[in-house]
């Protein structure tokens, strides 16, 4: 999540870091240059008052309208795979207080959908909507599925001793002992 690009404006110039600004002709970044930086760098530079941060595109008005219309259908992963986490960490940096309530609204309206789908969807159709979920939502989805699976296993009862999962990936290929009869 720390790698998410943030659009920032440099309030100061910086020498020797021309790599950051693809439009720069020298090896320096000028004052006032608009550059995309990864979140970790943008954040630390903001704390040193070297940059100001713009609100990331995934929290713009367009996305907000779409979330209001039908939250469950919006492809949030395409916008930002760490939508909620980035949102939480952005709020103190950009001073836009409305992001908080927007995140809450988006999450609560999508949460129900994620949870009910995790129990009802067979794995074949899950591929249709799984790519729309952010990383956080995918984790929730998998947690719901695995807890259901463990519950079922517990109810049925069965072998509790298992082969170490790290060995389970490769099966030894053994030759068939009996050739199939013609």
């Amino acid at each position: 999540m720390e790698e998410e690009p943030m659009s920032v404006v440099f309030q100061v110039g910086a020498n020797g870091v021309g790599l950051l600004d693809p439009g720069s002709e020298t090896n320096n970044v000028e004052k006032g240059a608009k550059v995309d930086l990864p979140f970790w760098l943008a954040h630390d530079l903001y704390l040193r008052q070297a940059t100001s941060i713009n609100v990331p595109a995934c929290f713009n008005q367009k996305t907000r309208k779409e979330i209001q219309a039908d939250a469950a259908c919006v492809d949030l992963r395409m916008r930002c795979p760490y939508f909620y986490e980035l949102g939480c960490k952005t709020v103190p940096l950009v001073g836009d207080k409305s992001i908080g309530s927007f995140l809450l609204q988006a999450f609560s309206s999508r949460y129900k959908e994620v949870l009910s789908k995790s129990h009802s969807t067979p794995t074949t159709t899950a591929s249709k909507f799984l790519p729309r979920l952010t990383k956080e939502e995918t984790q929730l989805f998998e947690a719901a599925q695995s807890s259901m699976a463990s519950f079922k296993k517990w109810r049925v009862g069965g072998s509790r001793l298992e082969k170490a999962s790290i060995l389970g990936k490769k099966r030894k290929t053994t030759l068939p002992i009996d050739p199939p009869s013609p």
Binding site: E3, G13, A14, G16, P38, W40, K163, S165, I166, L167
Partner: protein, 197 residues
């Protein structure tokens, strides 16, 4: 972009399922270290430049200073990513001792770097000496047993094994009634399975 390569390294770690090891990526690791060295060189040269202009590094806030800050932050970031990579692998390697025992199969051995292999051996030796001091095998009964004996089915030819006071020939597909503590290590190595007839 600064720090991109280091995060690729971590992405690799995140893409693997938890508890699974990927091949130790020494290429990328070395590249990141090289990147760190470059940052260091740039950092030093910016500091020199400031010193030549007789500026106090502690208080000056000019363009060279912010350039140096960016290099410093990138350096710290790379370091952090490398540490995270090593730490997470070390955790998995430690857990191997509990899951599959002292001897690592070839396909896992290949995924470790040399120092990770040494780490596993030393960690394993430390656990062994602790267990022999206690006179108790801590790696068995990870799940509380209901019965001290279980039925097992042998999945692979193991051969003659002496378990406690009896010699037993474990041939493939044979079913035995063994002490659970004896069977457990074979099950976790994938040589037996619990037989629920």
């Amino acid at each position: 972009m600064y720090g991109r390569r280091a995060s690729q390294l971590l992405g690799e770690l995140a893409a693997a399922e938890t508890g699974q090891l990927t091949v130790y990526n020494s290429d990328t690791f070395d590249q990141v270290i090289k990147e760190c060295n470059e940052h260091n060189v740039q950092l030093q040269s910016l500091f020199r430049k400031m010193e030549e202009q007789n500026l106090d590094i502690q208080t000056t806030r000019n363009e060279d200073y912010f350039g140096a800050v960016i290099h410093h932050l990138s350096l710290a970031r790379n370091k952090r990513c490398l540490m995270a990579y090593m730490y997470n692998r070390a955790e998995t390697i430690q857990s191997l001792r509990w899951k599959i025992g002292k001897k690592l199969p070839q396909e896992i051995q290949e995924k470790l770097s040399f120092s990770e292999g040494e780490y596993f051996k030393n960690h394993s030796a430390a656990i062994d000496s602790y267990m022999s001091e206690l006179d108790l095998d801590l790696t068995v009964d990870m799940i509380p047993p209901k019965d001290p004996y279980i039925q097992i089915r042998v999945l692979d030819d193991i051969g003659e094994v002496s378990l406690g006071d009896l010699e037993i020939s474990l041939t493939r597909h044979s079913v035995h009634f063994l002490r659970r503590t004896d069977a457990e290590q074979f099950i976790s190595q994938g040589l037996m399975e619990e037989f629920l007839g």
